[in-house]
């Protein structure tokens, strides 16, 4: 089933970490397997934030030897960053298997990201000038607490509670997805894509890589491909309705935009609240109500509806 949620503030910052946690926790019943966030802050002029996973959560049960391997992986990542002349300004080991870097880098970040991911067991969850992508097993409350998300200040964000149906219960299959190696593009999705393999092979022929077998990752790659080729986000969302088969509602974020698209059948829910200074959306109204206890006007977007909002 899965639950998705998003919020965007127009022209101002707010505690989007706490807001997203509140909404996602209310959607726990739609997907208790894992929870993920893509939140957009402002790390500083010219700085990149990189979120890295160096093991799956379940790997930590493999015994003492895993800790030695994790240290080796961190050393390898640090060495690669140094070889690309990236200046590490902040390095946090948020979880035993998850790190957060704040970097200064003037080179080709895509090349650097590809190099880092050559390290066995290492996956970059996100890399960008605003995006911070966090995902882990458990509900929103536990993930937010573990990663210190409840104090995250930013402009917008999207999130996902996952009920695993077509791939494993692990972090790499959790949402959101970052569109490697494109800065700041993230996607959450509720539904099933039925021409996944056809579209995936088409994207792979165009040089894109996939980290999982989850159909939702396709939407991230598809969107990033369009954006990299000069297609505007709204146009990419419209094209997806014609080109991607299945039932889906998905949300996409860039550095300063949040967009949504709903398939031709409108089979997957989304409730939308729009005011002058913010837009909130979720699979169920009960999630939006956690941040707006007072009476508000909401509506369901229709089939084939596409919307894009600017932060």
């Amino acid at each position: 089933m899965c639950g998705i949620a998003g919020i965007i503030h127009k022209g101002r910052r707010a505690n989007v970490g706490a807001e997203m946690t509140s909404m996602l926790q209310a959607l726990k019943h739609r997907g208790p397997d894992s929870t993920g966030y893509a939140v957009y802050g402002d790390p500083g002029e010219g700085e990149y934030v990189m979120r890295v996973k160096i093991a799956e959560a379940e790997d930590m049960e493999l015994g003492r030897s895993i800790h030695d391997r994790l240290e080796e992986r961190i050393e390898a990542v640090d060495a690669i960053l140094a070889s690309h002349e990236a200046e590490v300004k902040v390095k946090e080991r948020v979880r035993p298997y998850a790190l957060r870097y704040v970097l200064n880098h003037d080179g080709d970040t895509g090349d650097m990201a590809g190099h880092i991911e050559e390290t066995e067991g290492v996956e970059i969850l996100s890399l960008g000038n605003g995006l911070e992508l966090i995902k882990d097993l458990g509900d929103a409350g536990s993930v937010a607490k573990a990663y210190g998300l409840n104090d995250f200040e930013g402009t917008h964000g999207i999130g996902h509670t996952r009920m695993a149906t077509e791939s494993d219960v692990d972090i790499k299959s959790a949402h959101p997805y970052w569109a490697f190696p494109y800065n700041d593009v993230s996607v959450v999705h509720n539904g099933q894509i039925t021409n996944y393999w056809i579209m995936r092979r088409e994207m792979e022929r165009k040089g894109h890589r996939f980290m999982s077998d989850c159909d939702s990752e396709l939407l991230a790659v598809y969107t990033a491909h369009h954006l990299a080729n000069g297609v505007q986000l709204e146009e990419s969302l419209r094209r997806s309705i014609d080109e991607i088969d299945g039932v889906f509602t998905y949300l996409v974020c860039t550095r300063d935009q949040l967009g949504m698209a709903k398939d031709t059948m409108a089979a997957k829910p989304l409730v939308l609240y729009e005011s002058d200074d913010l837009i909130a959306m979720a699979s169920e109204e009960v999630a939006i109500r956690t941040i707006f206890p007072e009476e508000i006007d909401t509506h369901d977007p229709y089939d084939e509806e596409v919307r894009v909002w600017q932060a």
């Binding site: 169920e284 109500r289 509506h299």
Partner: protein, 289 residues
């Protein structure tokens, strides 16, 4: 129809043709307007365990800190105490509120509800001063439900009787599989509304999305605005005086009567050309082939 030749029919206006063919004698209680209970019988109908409520005995409670199960239990307890008018405050989008009420009750919900609100009801009059999520009043059997704002998808799925009204717009698949009763939408409705509709009437004052009335078996849909496309086997039909009278009465009843009347409504019915209307047995088809 006897005594009228095809040539005469061809020369008639559409209205004259409809009258000559007897279409204005349509019975409003016929199969296409099947109602689960006879209107007279409905007044007397009650479940043996239905509480004896007094509409003049009124109470209200705050649902803000209650679970949906606790809210529904509270409603039942209050009905058992004889309260016939209950006001539910702060529903906060909770799911499955006020479901399975099988007796007379005047229920006012001050706010918005989540999915599956007021489902499986048989008898109460409900007013929701807010929005409702997906599948509002699913399988409703009798009573009235009036939603003051918008509604989500599958509004009135499989309803069998009663009046279900949304003053705002509704999502997709409105009245999917409806088997009776009336659905009225003040605004627009989404795609596949009336999908596999079997009986009853649906009125959409605004626009309708694509595939309206797809695979409908029977029943009638009226649309006041534009129809993006008709579904498989859904066809337009002549809007008779009976249709207009019925629309006028129903829309006036709920304060949704358009200023320009109802003459502009488009009537949609089943074309009945799908395979399931084919009354040939397989061995008979072989003979034809």
């Amino acid at each position: 129809m006897s005594g009228i030749s095809d040539a005469e029919l061809r020369d008639m206006t559409q209205e004259e043709r409809v009258n000559a063919l007897g279409m204005t004698t349509e019975q409003l209680t016929g199969k296409s307007l099947y109602i689960e209970f006879d209107p007279d019988a409905q007044e007397r109908f009650t479940y043996p365990w239905a509480p004896d409520v007094d509409f003049n005995k009124r109470t209200e409670f705050d649902a803000g800190d209650l679970t949906n199960t606790e809210v529904n239990a509270r409603i039942r307890d209050l009905m058992a105490e004889g309260y016939g008018t209950i006001v539910l405050q702060n529903p906060r989008g909770k799911h499955s509120l006020a479901v399975g009420i099988l007796s007379r009750l005047n229920l006012i919900i001050e706010g918005s509800t989540g999915y599956f609100g007021v489902g499986l009801i048989d008898g109460p009059n409900v007013r929701i001063n807010g929005r409702v999520g997906w599948s509002c009043a699913e399988n409703m059997m009798s009573g009235t439900v009036v939603v003051e704002k918008n509604a989500g998808s599958t509004f009135g799925a499989a309803i069998r009787g009663g009046d279900l009204v949304c003053r705002g717009s509704v999502g997709s698949r409105t009245g999917i599989d409806m088997k009776g009763g009336t659905i009225i939408v003040g605004g627009d409705t989404g795609a596949l509304s009336g999908f596999m509709m079997q009986r009853g009437r649906m009125v959409v004052c605004g626009n309708a999305g694509k595939n309206l009335g797809d695979s409908m078996y029977d029943g009638t849909i009226y649309v006041g605005g534009e129809i993006r496309s008709l579904g498989v086997d859904a066809v337009t039909a002549y809007l008779t005086k009976l249709d207009k009278d019925w629309l006028t009465r129903k829309l006036t009843q709920y304060g949704l009567m358009p200023g320009r009347g109802v003459d502009h409504f488009t009537k949609i019915v089943a074309g009945k050309q799908l395979w399931n209307y084919d009354n040939l047995e397989p061995n008979e088809k072989k003979l034809i082939l």
